[in-house]
Amino acid sequence: MSAGPGPLAPLPDRVVRDPVLLAFADEVGGVDAGPVAVEGGRTQWELGGRSEPGTRLVRAPAGVVAFEPAEMTIQVRAGTTLDELDAALEPAGQRVALQGLPRAATVGGVLCVGLSGPTRLGHGHIRETLLQTRYVSSEGLLVTAGGPTVKNVTGFDLCRVLVGSYGTLGLLAEVTLRTRPRPQATAWLAGPADPADLFDRLYRPMSLLWDGETVWLHLEGYPEDVAVQTAIALEAGLQPMAGPPPLPTGRHSVEPGVLRRFRPDRAQRSGFVAEFGVGVVHGEWPGPTQGTPDASVVTLNRRLKQLFDPTGRLNPGRDPLAPSNGKADHR
């Protein structure tokens, strides 16, 4: 065994002594404790492949650990549901950019699946919300990835590869997330319009959905600004709406530019709802889709798995490289 990195030892508060997390690490156990996976809200249980029979299922701890509104961060156990998270933030006029999801989904599940929701155009990718996580490694050790502050470039960024890993690299026990202020006003509008034209005339809309014929626009912000943007949409032929359309089952990924150029014929319309400006398509996509990843990217993914989980005990059967095209169900 090596001597260790120099004479400095971690500051006392950097060694995790929280009994809840230690108990979770013990439940997961070390390499001799066999295959194990976390069961969240089971809302995307089939994604990334079928769980191998014989995998022991555990639950991540739940509950809010700390919320300091003036920091605009919240520390929660990974098993906390989005419902609970939202309830904790609401009184302070804040939220986390994880809207439009099954309320029973857990924070850990959402991050491990790593698929963003329909407000990605406005909020950015959900991976941007994760500042720090404490996870249990395949050796059964608690590892801290990232840092609790809103800005941090200390060391290599493990948080990034955990998002979208389906829990095959580590099991999330606790996360610190970035929060945002809730908007003062929101509006939904819909109608037949050219999405590209509308997109280019608006300033940073929250979401712009398109089924080949109809456009749905989601606006958020200060009342005056929402009113001005609404006027642009009304002029383009949209009408106020209660909310988004139901999103059809199936999920495809395309380059956002593809949506600008694609002109569906009559038969192709209405089988899909596309997130304009983002490139997520829900439902049956008749247009061109994304190619398969480079061989070198596949190799990097495999090597990462081999290094993080040499015995293959973390969520066996699941593979982040498995195509999610068409498989992902929206709730």
Partner: protein, 481 residues
């Protein structure tokens, strides 16, 4: 000794872009930090294929490689150790805008400000704006996950990078991420951003185009006490406003800057706070009023809103030339970069002043206050005997004070060589081991910028065979033995 390596590189690139004269080696032996290294051959590729040729030549000669952009890094990330092959990207300056996808592909040597200038007529910009933006490269921005004043609302570099073409340390090419919504596999793009040249060389980078805001307002709040200024920063955030930028400058730096560029800063203020709000006009008007109210409530003597673009530019010029202004006070500076929880800002700032006093040093503070990113600037004259020891001792105390307040080692400058010894303060050994594995996935033989970021011994080969007893010990103490 380097004869065959130079000959091979000259054949692949061209002789005038492969240098190994002494002058060049000295020049490229350092970056903007106080650290110095030892460059081997220095080459200047133009294309991805040439970068691959450099990496393969280094492989054949069993030489380490070090990527380098403009050399403005402050943590020694680009400082070459043990005569590696230095791959300098400054001649890779291609820019291709893809409006349909709202991205721009750049080669890594493109200068940050040149990109924003290039995009301006199209109505867009690249949001991360380091104070070094006139000279730092996009490749360096990606490698350090750089920030800047305007990253408070817009996010640091990682949030703006969509795809990266990388020459891996084995010479192979990989595109990490992609323009499509959900690239397959885990987020390797995100892992590469901030990897400080240790996971390969970025040869093309697709960054998001950020639309220029329709309205902008820049405010200058003037406080007698730094404590009031720090309290105002927290109060703005607590009021539910996330401005585009909140920067704070203490009296010493304000005076230095004012003497340097005449930005119109009040030189008798204990501290000033520069706030910018942007977006649609309604929100800008609302937030301007809100910020003014909050600052006045925290005891501001005055809050001035820039009346026009010229005044706005002048206010920013002061902030962005702060480091240049320091040269008028003392010839050398050591700039620290830590982050603390925003609510601890005042507390840690007080400690920073006390630490500098104890070591009889001058400290100036100009920093990204909105996200708790401290930049204490220790200014000194390196010719004074023994002063460097005091500077380093004070620096270490500042780092410790930040960590003890619940903060982190670096907010934007990275770890490089400078902060490497402190990594073991912030992280336990299993934490460091996991980071080492991430690096190993990209660079199993440790060829790319070796001996940077992680302290030696971070990777513990025996973890895979950990028995229950050692597992208990590691969980309890965070360190081996």
């Amino acid at each position: 000794m380097d004869g065959t390596l130079v000959a091979e590189l000259s054949a692949s690139l061209s002789p005038d872009r492969v240098h190994n004269d002494h002058l060049e080696q000295v020049l490229y032996g350092r970056d903007a930090s106080l650290m110095r290294g030892d460059a081997g051959v220095v080459c200047f590729p133009l294309t991805t294929a040439e970068v691959q040729a450099c990496v393969r030549a280094a492989l054949r000669h069993d030489r380490a490689i070090v990527p380098r952009g403009s050399g403005t890094g402050l943590a020694g990330g680009a400082v070459p150790l043990e005569q590696p092959l230095l791959i300098v990207t400054t001649k890779m300056t291609g820019i291709e805008v893809d409006l349909d996808n709202r991205v721009v592909w750049v080669q890594p040597g493109v200068i940050n400000l040149d990109l924003t200038r290039h995009l301006k007529p199209l109505g867009f910009h690249f949001a991360p704006d380091p104070s070094s933006q006139q000279s730092c490269s996009l490749g360096g921005n990606v490698a350090n996950n750089s920030g800047g004043p305007h990253c408070l609302a817009y996010g640091v570099t990682s949030a703006h990078v969509v795809a990266i073409e990388v020459v891996l340390p084995n010479g192979e090419l990989a595109v990490l991420g992609g323009l499509g919504a959900d690239p397959a596999g885990v987020d390797l793009r995100g892992a590469f951003v901030g990897s400080e040249g240790c996971m390969g060389i970025a040869t093309r980078i697709a960054v998001r185009l950020t639309p220029n805001p329709p309205a902008v307002a820049t405010l200058l709040a003037d406080f007698v006490e730094p404590a009031q200024a720090a309290a105002a920063v927290s109060a703005i955030i607590a009021a539910g406003v996330v401005p585009a930028a909140i920067e704070m400058m203490d009296q010493r730096i304000t005076q230095a800057v004012e003497a340097f560029v005449g930005a119109g800063y009040p030189t008798d203020a204990g501290a000033i706070v520069l706030v910018e709000v942007d977006g649609l006009p309604g929100g800008v008007a609302f937030e301007t009023e809100k910020v003014r109210e909050v600052c006045m409530a925290q005891g501001a003597r005055s809050v001035r809103v820039a009346a026009d673009e010229a005044e706005r530019m002048l206010l920013w010029k002061g902030r962005k030339t702060a480091f240049g202004a320091v040269a008028r006070v003392k010839p050398n500076y050591y700039l620290h970069d830590t982050v603390v929880p925003r609510t601890k800002l005042l507390d840690v700032l007080r400690q920073v002043y006390a630490i500098a006093d104890r070591h009889d040093l001058i400290v100036m503070n100009v920093f990204h206050a909105g996200d708790g990113n401290l930049h204490p600037l220790l200014v000194f004259d390196a010719r004074e005997p023994g002063i460097l020891d005091r500077v380093h001792a004070a620096g270490e105390e500042i780092v410790r004070a930040s960590l003890e307040a619940g903060g982190v080692l670096s907010g934007e400058h990275g770890i490089g060589l400078e902060k490497q010894p402190f990594m073991a303060l912030q992280f336990t050994q299993p934490d460091l081991d996991a980071q080492a594995r991430l690096r190993d996935a990209f660079d199993p033989d440790g060829r790319c910028n070796p001996a940077k970021v992680l302290p030696a011994g971070s990777r513990c080969g025996d973890l895979a065979h950990l028995d229950a007893h050692h597992r208990e010990r590691l969980l309890a103490d965070g360190v081996w033995v």
